[in-house]
Symmetry: C2
Amino acid sequence: MKVGFMQFSPLFGRKEENVERVINSLRGAKADLLVLPELFSTGYLFLNEEELRRSAEPISDGLTVSKFLELAKKENTNLVFGIAERADNKLFNSSVLVTAKGECFVYRKLHLFDREKRLFSPGDKELEVFDIGEAKVGMMICFDWIFPEVARSLALKGADIICHPSNLILPHCQDAMVTRCLENRVFAITSNRTGTEKRRKEEFTFTGRSQIVDPKGRVLAQANAEEEKLCIIEIDPLLAKDKKVTPNNHIFEDRRTDFYLW
Amino acid sequence: MKVGFMQFSPLFGRKEENVERVINSLRGAKADLLVLPELFSTGYLFLNEEELRRSAEPISDGLTVSKFLELAKKENTNLVFGIAERADNKLFNSSVLVTAKGECFVYRKLHLFDREKRLFSPGDKELEVFDIGEAKVGMMICFDWIFPEVARSLALKGADIICHPSNLILPHCQDAMVTRCLENRVFAITSNRTGTEKRRKEEFTFTGRSQIVDPKGRVLAQANAEEEKLCIIEIDPLLAKDKKVTPNNHIFEDRRTDFYLW
């Protein structure tokens, strides 16, 4: 199975350009699953809810989702990408999975980071796992990484691969995702953005280092902090079915849930 | 507050020698909290339950616990150390906290690693947190690290410092403990052993690299893979009371427990 990420620096507020740029890069990529960054089509640093609302799109007929549904079918691939979602009157920081079959699934970020709380509503949907044929896929977004319950919930629900669109600015996530993979024996694809956004007095530099980690905690591929990179590698998703750390230790069956406080 | 670990290579089955050696090293150390490795007084590689039973000791009047209770009072310190515990007919891989006030608390390893399942009973006591004045202390042992629920439970119960006696042979724990500290905003003291034990056909080499990590994921001190080392540093345990990752993100209050499968 061929999986990958695309790391790049979206241009703030220029949705059509960002979407076209990615589509041009992904055409002919021949991957089974590709992950894009969080909010990849809009950029990150919205000044206020009004501005966000103008950029946000509904799942049903938004520009990004429509174009990517078309791309997924044409390229016979599955795509995961972060968008600003408008649903009724609410705005969500969402990750969308569009499949080669034309399906479309959404995850809404459960744990909003810092200033996102002023802009978005917190996620209101279950953590779900989706079968794309070769593997079962779960989604989480950026800051969700710091809550071990997210990856754990996805893994317990059967995820083989966690797709993790990100706009990271803190330095710890990439290493922590190795822990997430080890403790759940899953793959994780963190697709982070690069570049700097400056708006009024705020300036954010995103840390790149997108990566693919396997269930034994091996970093199979990693971009550097600044490059634009489409990275596709071959993995064996069946590795994520083997939950045994040793012949006597099954990472789920060994859990002592009676003793856990949560 | 002065906290530390002692990393060394216990001699298999020579309890009195191991205990005396540690006592001689700790005398005059002037620490508030010191952590020793897992099974530090007996060694690790028991051939069978019979052999383990002969080395194991009851909490009430065992040699290791008695000597360390005395030491803790005399040195006005708090000590955490791993022993083979005999309780009624059962054998546990336990961690003991003896305090300067003469108290004695026990944690029994919840997650037994590999061959330990042939020797020990799994832990049957709650994860607890103990107030030693300067800080609240929780205990976990070695392989417990791979289950995020353990450190999470201790942190939710108020632990400022997680004491982590270990006999590590896998390479990932030290990095993963950085994640445990970050995700719970606590200190962790991993006291690992060094050296090789060979008994019949089995040979284990322990990986050292004992360490102290702070709530921001900074490795404040780390031994190398082989040295014998008593390491004591000054920390501010109040740092563990600050659960804010950003002004808008409280690591516990932000949890979306309704959405977790755990």
